[in-house]
Symmetry: C3
Subunit: 350 residues, 3 copies
């Protein structure tokens, strides 16, 4: 259950810097490589000659060469060359629209005719020297929608991330969820609280006192197909909270791109974007390492939850006010999927 | 194929001393913890909020708190508290009758209304200072009934446990099997034989000569649902065998609680109870370690046998006189299961 | 999809020198051991008593003794003895025709009445002191026919074995395939090329110059059910190539016995036979180690290809001229299997 006609983050360029990368995205085994002119290409990971995965091959002169018998495939999927063979009649390898932007490779698993590069989400921090970004990738054995739920209900921080970003005051501040078109926004504001360890460190990193009461906020934004951006931060209490002058606050954007692998597994591209000290690479790495540790705490829980839900497929779970962000996000996903299926059926009928 | 309305050993208290224990018993994922007043509780391992396993949580003030979003569940399964939520309308977590006795936690996977604590088997050595007990737990990938067969036919000792308790004289002494109500008793008596290593050591431990002919006995008792107690021992020959005066013999009770996990896997609680030198903790540990090593020898065989039987589901095996104990035990199990099913159907019809 | 009435290589005698060997061959779990008089026997790996694998037992006085309760089975499968039991009425263990020849154990998984020892393929190097042989065994998760394809199209050497036996000239020389009865022969001759590392070493080993142009040949012979013998070699250019006088060449026979385990896994017995310096055991080992390394390079590719083909069961692959050897071999396999099924049906009808 996921939209097909959408841009998903598939990988980062470093993953295929040395050799092609094979990765299953939305159920499709794909191979990623950099072809002629350095442009990224995504093809079905299946050589038309004998079915070997093209990702076991190599790139030569901008073509992807199968590592079994040497069929060379052009970035557009056409068979370009094979030793002592005429390849003109060979079937092409299916190409999947792919584009490199903001340090990610985005793929469009649905109808290529609909793949519009203008639909790649605009990331304010993506190509702006006033921002810095650090992140990573986790492979998780769960439906990506369990991660949507997770990110749209940060109440879990108090339990899963008790030693870093969790604090009891989170669950005491009721979140508010609103839907704007296909975007779901769940926000929570805490007032006059002591910053938890992660934010105390961020305040210090910003040259601010870390032992004074603060206001804290979390503004989660889901947008289709499965992106969740979370504005998070603290400001010294009484300075305006989220709207405080930068000199009183530490804030950043938690970045979450959730890409289905199968119905019950996913690729989780997580990271953090900040607009303070953007040139401080050591700080970027410190934050990245901390986030990696914190976000890894979710994995066991989500995978165990997935196993439980598979064991009790008929069981209903609760939808409380804190779950509203996830519930609304799933509704939008379902609506989009239904619309895609209706369109596919209309096309098939016509 | 196992009785549901019966007490099974599920775990030992040390297994949930620090944090809740998740364990599948008779196909049901359960969580064990010590609630208010220190009483053991067993609940379905599924949080009604979002389906996370409760066993990943923790105990606070006698309640089991879900480690994902903090729903606190009382030992009786009722939702007791959740930060910033009104839990009155929340569905309860299914409770499974559990009782702590004799150093084990016993659960009743069937109809709670039928769970009578008086039906927990009486263990003569369970709370008697004149007895000592040591044991352990193995997780085995086989139908628990293969272990019933194993324990009711000790002929296998000669082959599987050749270096410790096995000896050729075992298979030369024909066993005798009788059924008394729901109990099956298979007994074997060997006369005027040399004690094998394990028993020679036990004689020495009792201050008795280990290099003289002995009488040896094995009296296996199956009782539903799947408990097998085996009286085992040796006495200096000519002193009355099983009935010899304690000064001439070394004896103990092999304790086997077999608990189905799934149709093809089980929890094996094994141990040994003795009524000599009960205060000698070092001796208890020596015996426990020896038994752990010996009983581990059965695992590979049983798991390989299970794989073979699954590969040839239609194949009949032989039922020899040595198999009578297992055959009769399985008949009792089947009779109980049939009766339970008939009762369930009668209730459903009414 | 494999012929049943044929001799397959099942194992080598060293594999059951110390204890019985359990191995699944053509879907059947078998046990191999050396019985009375040292003759090899293959039985179904299932004890008629309780279904334990006989391969967990041991050999005593030429009988295979079950390691669970001691049933002794004669090499012909008849139950020979069991302590304190009369075995006359016991069902026999199914025997599978087996014969030891040329250092291999060959089994006939089909109708025993058709198992004719004269049908074991004649190996010119098998019992000839002028030849030496070294080889090994790989367990691969793929349909054995993918390996037939692999061996009948050595174009892959250029890609998979680039650093040892591969060279671009292979793919430039078109192979020729012809069918002679049930044998498929694909041959390729390269002229006036520099020898690749493996063959340069072989030339040196033969006391020949390794830095001069050579002729090179590969003559692959498939014969049912799944044997592929490949004559390979190089000769100094202009000396007659394949037909050159031995003093100008280095050559050998690549030996490949492919034995199905399941529909998607196989046992790969690989090796090399040579008729130069047959007494040089160190050379045999050097060649064997090199071949082990080279042939291991195919494993990842074949297993990945198998996974891809299973993921796209409906997908057609290409059959180029280089694939003709594999295509023709598969046709012969299919014809034999069809004939066996027709015969089985005729017998069933009659």
């Amino acid at each position: 259950m996921h939209p097909k006609n959408a841009w998903y983050v598939a990988c980062t360029p470093d993953e295929f810097a040395d050799k092609p990368l094979g990765r299953r995205i939305c159920g499709q085994p794909l191979v990623f490589f950099r072809g002629e002119g350095g442009k990224v290409s995504a093809l079905e990971d299946f050589c038309p000659h004998r079915g070997a995965p093209l990702s076991l091959g190599f790139v030569r002169e901008g073509k992807l060469v199968c590592g079994y018998h040497g069929l060379a495939v052009a970035p557009d999927g056409r068979c370009a060359h094979m030793p002592a063979q005429r390849v003109r009649g060979f079937p092409s390898v299916r190409r999947v629209p792919a584009i490199e932007r903001y340090g990610f490779v985005w793929v469009w698993p649905g109808d290529p005719a609909l793949a519009d590069e203008a639909l790649v989400p605009r990331l304010v921090w993506g190509d702006n020297p006033e921002w810095a970004y650090g992140g990573g990738l986790y492979h998780i054995q769960c439906d990506y929608r369990l991660m949507v739920d997770n990110l749209m209900d940060l109440t879990h921080e108090t339990y899963v991330h008790a030693s870093s970003i969790g604090q009891p005051e989170i669950e005491e501040a009721a979140p508010q969820t609103r839907v704007e078109g296909d975007t779901v926004i769940t926000s929570r504001h805490m007032h006059n609280i002591m910053p938890p360890p992660f934010w105390a460190a961020a305040l210090r990193g910003n040259g601010l006192a870390d032992d004074v009461p603060c206001d804290r906020w979390q503004i989660c934004r889901f947008s289709p197909p499965s992106h969740v951006m979370i504005e998070v931060g603290v400001a010294h209490a009484g300075k305006g909270g989220y709207d405080a002058d930068p000199q009183y606050k530490a804030s950043s954007i938690v970045v979450d791109f959730l890409t289905p692998e199968t119905d019950t597994s996913m690729w989780y591209f997580w990271g953090m974007a900040r607009n303070f000290k953007p040139g401080d690479a050591a700080l970027t790495e410190t934050i990245r390492a901390g986030q990696a540790r914190i976000f890894a705490e979710d994995l066991d829980m989500l995978e165990a939850q997935q196993r439980n839900l598979l064991a009790y497929p008929e069981r209903r779970v609760l939808s409380l006010n804190i779950d509203a962000g996830g519930v609304q996000s799933r509704k939008i996903i379902e609506r989009i999927v239904m619309a895609e299926q209706a369109m596919a059926q209309a096309v098939a009928t016509a």
